[in-house]
Amino acid sequence: MGLLSKKDAKLITDPLADNNPITIQVLGICSALAITAELKASIVMSISVLFVLGVGNVVISLMRNIIPSKIRIIVQLIVVAALVIIVDQVLKAFAYELSKTLSVFVGLIITNCIIMGRFEAFALGNGPWRSFLDGIGNALGYAVILIIVGFFRELLGSGTLLGFKVLGDPIEKTGLYAIGYENNGFMLLSPMALIVVGIIIWVQRSRNTALIED
């Protein structure tokens, strides 16, 4: 980490665990839950947020001294909306099927609280480089949870990972299915996303008791 000072590196590593945007700061839940039935969709969503948050944080940080504080929310919304339009158009051009699965949730990155939250809490008070690192860090923290949830939901729900049949073929009864394993279709339904996140929070707080609420 020759490039990053210790303080800067902390900006990236903190949100990955003890200050995770989803499980600790409770930001950006909506999209985290709705699109995690497949691992691929979670990964694409994470990359989109990574781009929007990284670039958005830099833009807001560069403009922080010229934005009048009264209309800052509107300015922030416009910046995010412009970035999200770029993401949406790119997805439509290169991954049309996937953009259909994500449907309105790409648009909902605009109101993803992680983005507004980081703009408000960090980018408005810090320089571009630190804001960039903060954006990347938080987006990675978001990505970690999304990928964990997506991994378990796809594996247990449809027995695949990224579309590959890792547990064997349910119709021809190979692999695990040969000994009577069945997919739990319940994992594909949306309520299970909430319960999986609840369990992640449980595990995380059991390991680090300092995070327990009273």
Binding site: S31, L33, I74, I85, D88, I110
Partner: protein, 249 residues
């Protein structure tokens, strides 16, 4: 007339914003600690959705859709501005929220005081933008229906936050394992509530053929899982029952 009623109940129960599409989860989790604040935010959401969805419907119809500009003249008929819809919608929402705030402050100070800090927060609530985006992707045909859709989804959101706030007020008296306390248990309860709301899914499938055709591919999964559903539900009820017992004791 029937379609209005159908859309109204559909947007409240079947396509409930919180339980079916997870919109507005952030404020749903953050502002649901007390019933009174939850009611304030819920009312504000109904109000803003009822205003922004029809306005965005007009924008979508006469500005953004492919060919929407044809009212300007034949040479504009080829324009497709739909890629601008995010920025238009969010700008409308931000300005409408500001406008609503000013109007309410001027003409209904009591309401303003009770909604208070929630109004500006609503601009960044995903439920509001989600309402407009779903309105667009579900291709709601008329202005009246879009108004019904806005009000219906607002009421659905209101019900959801009211229910979770009431449960969270009670759950303080029960013995939740330490690491689950607060956020963790709220997530799991919301999940169980969402499972409960899924049972509304069959409510409007009967009747006309078009609805049935649409519903059948989706219905396959829930039917298979009905057994588990009821199991989960009874467990849920049991735990609620034990909780209330504890409270009474």
């Amino acid at each position: 007339m029937l379609e209005y009623v159908e859309l109204f109940f559909k947007s409240i129960f079947i396509d409930n914003m919180v339980f079916a599409t997870f919109l507005g989860m952030c404020s749903y989790l953050a502002v649901s600690k007390k019933v009174s604040t939850a009611v304030g935010l819920g009312a504000a959401v109904i109000f803003v959705l009822a205003v922004t969805v029809p306005v965005n419907w007009l924008l979508d119809q006469y500005l953004l859709q492919p060919g929407a500009l044809s009212w300007l003249g034949a040479e504009y008929a080829d324009y497709d501005l739909s890629f601008l819809s995010f920025i238009m919608f969010i700008a409308t929402i931000a300005t409408m929220v500001q406008l609503v705030e000013i109007i309410v402050e001027k003409f209904a100070p009591a309401l303003y005081n009770s909604l208070g800090i929630f109004l500006p927060l609503i601009a960044v609530n995903c439920a509001i933008l989600g309402g407009s985006l779903f309105m667009q992707s579900r291709e709601i045909p008329t202005l009246g229906l879009s108004l019904v859709y806005g009000i219906g989804s607002g009421i659905g959101w209101f019900l959801a936050i009211l229910a979770i706030a009431a449960i969270r007020e009670k759950i303080r008296y029960s013995q939740v394992p330490g690491p689950l306390r607060g956020l963790g248990i709220t997530f799991i309860i919301t999940g169980l509530m969402a499972i409960g709301f899924m049972s509304f899914g069959g409510m409007l499938t009967g009747g006309d053929d078009a609805a049935e055709k649409k519903e059948t591919p989706k219905a396959e999964v829930p039917v298979e899982k009905k057994m588990e559903l009821t199991k989960e539900d009874t467990e849920n009820n049991k735990s609620i029952a034990t909780n209330t017992k504890k409270i009474i004791e």
